[in-house]
């Protein structure tokens, strides 16, 4: 279902009024994308559900502060979900004392782990597998870890412009797939 500008504006209005109907609409229109990112970051269903619930509440709490001139609504929702998921994963790891690092500085190892882990969770198995590893790494950093382009470019040792065009390539592939599957 396409998210029309009309729906988006309604959500934004509700967010600004701290009307919880914003959350109902967000869940209705964005749940798979947002939950998908959370599951990918956290790695397990139950923890992902907790993180998603927390994220939804945070969206309501912070709704008044969403400023359309700063960025897209989707981006703002994505950021909340991503950050919540990363925090949840971190605290779980410190409890379990696992050695799966999630620090940005250790992103190399983490990307390797995620390759082994559930690519199915992402869902678009064919698309991801057609991606070169350098594209997968970039997507991981930027989409799931919340790196800025500048940070990711430094990390992967490529020019920022190159990183951006590569991101475009990835998403164009997703769009092609998305169009094909509808």
């Amino acid at each position: 279902m396409a998210i029309t500008t009309q729906i988006e504006n309604k959500i934004i209005a509700y967010l600004h009024e701290k009307d919880k109907r914003a959350i109902e609409l967000i869940f209705s229109h964005y749940r798979r994308a947002l939950f998908g990112v959370i599951v990918k970051v956290v790695g397990e269903e139950k923890l992902a559900e907790d993180a998603f619930q927390e994220s939804l509440v945070k969206m309501w709490q912070k709704g008044e502060s969403y400023d359309p001139s700063k960025g897209r609504l989707f981006t703002w929702l994505l950021n909340i979900c991503r950050n919540t998921a990363i925090d949840k994963k971190r605290s779980q790891q410190s409890r379990e004392k696992k050695n799966i690092p999630i620090e940005k500085s250790e992103i190399g190892d983490h990307v390797a782990v995620s390759e082994e882990m559930n690519i199915n969770l992402i869902g678009l198995k064919e698309v991801v597998e057609t991606l070169d590893s350098k594209y997968r790494e970039l997507l991981e950093l930027v989409y799931f870890q919340g790196y800025t382009m500048e940070e990711a470019a430094i990390k992967l040792n490529v020019p920022e412009g190159t990183a951006k065009t590569r991101i475009r390539t990835i998403i164009r592939k997703l769009r092609t797939w998305a169009n094909q599957s509808t």
Binding site: A2, I3, K18, K20, I23, E24, F27, H29, Y30, R31, R32, A33, F35, G36, V39, A48, E49, F52, Q53, L56, V57, W60, Q61, P68, S69, K70, G71, R72, F74, T75, W76, L78, N79, N120, L121, I122, G123, L124, V142, Y143, G146, Y147, T148, M149, E150, G161, A163, K164, T165, R166, I167, R168, T169, I170, I171, L174, R175, A178, S181, T182
Partner: protein, 253 residues
């Protein structure tokens, strides 16, 4: 405000993708937002990027509906305008504590007041006793100052060791019994003091051995010639039981 851009190049740069993914700095993001607002082609591109990402999820990563209801329920508890006004625990406890203190205070007041009343009563009794004692002593003192006649009574056959002294005031007729030594009166009996006036016995009062301390007896009229003590049934008799005369003493003229 922005300078005209080359749409094709802008689209190809990936700037919009980075923007939607939230991978731009705040300053850059604001810049893109402005351009997107200004150019419909960019708006369309952004919508398609978001749609692709919106579908960028396996149907199996469908979040359960209970997550939403749980989130809404949590929001309800946080939303102050919706939640029913509940006295915050602190105030509940403060109120309860206040009530307890109040009751305790009332109770304390009542008990203190009662104590005070009792003490006041005790005080009154004490005052009365002291006053009576004072009067007794004054009477005794006055009596002793007067010219009194002292009569010793000696024990008779029934009780040879008994004795007592009568002090008689000729002016007032007061009779004072002192220095008594009598055996304990049997149950149901009392001692009675007699004054012999004009040959006839006149009762001067009753006493029991418990009242063995000195004390005033009944005042008499006339001039006695002798005094005696007999054992009588409790309550006394009109005439002395002569067989039960314990002590007898005559005035020395």
């Amino acid at each position: 405000m922005g300078e005209p851009i080359n749409i094709e190049e802008y689209l190809a740069s990936g700037q919009l993708e980075a923007y939607v993914l939230g991978a731009l700095s705040e300053a850059e993001a604001r810049d893109v937002a402005e351009k997107v607002a200004a150019y419909p082609e960019l708006q369309r591109e952004v919508a398609e990027i978001e749609e692709a990402l919106g579908k960028y999820a396996d149907p199996t990563s469908e979040p359960a509906a209970h997550i939403l209801s749980a989130a809404l329920a949590e929001i309800d508890t946080l939303d102050s305008s919706k939640s029913t006004p509940v006295i915050r625990p602190f105030w509940k406890y403060a109120a309860a504590a206040a009530i307890v203190l109040l009751l305790a205070s009332i109770f304390l007041n009542i008990s203190l007041y009662q104590q005070m009343r009792e003490q006041a009563d005790s005080l009154m009794v004490l005052e009365t006793e002291l006053r009576e004692e004072k009067e007794r002593k004054e009477t005794l003192l006055a009596f002793y100052k007067e010219e009194n006649v002292s009569i010793w009574m000696k024990g008779l056959e029934i009780s040879p060791e008994s004795k007592a002294r009568v002090i008689w005031n000729p002016v007032s007729g007061q009779v004072f019994l002192a220095n008594q030594e009598f055996p304990m009166a049997p149950e149901g009996f009392q001692y009675q003091l007699w004054a012999i006036v004009d040959g006839r016995p006149v009762s001067a009062g009753l006493f029991s051995r418990e009242n063995s301390s000195s004390g005033f007896m009944t005042s008499i009229e006339g001039t006695p010639t002798a005094f005696a003590v007999t054992l009588e049934p409790e309550g006394g008799s009109d005439l002395p039981t002569l067989e039960q005369m314990y002590v007898y003493g005559e005035l020395l003229v």
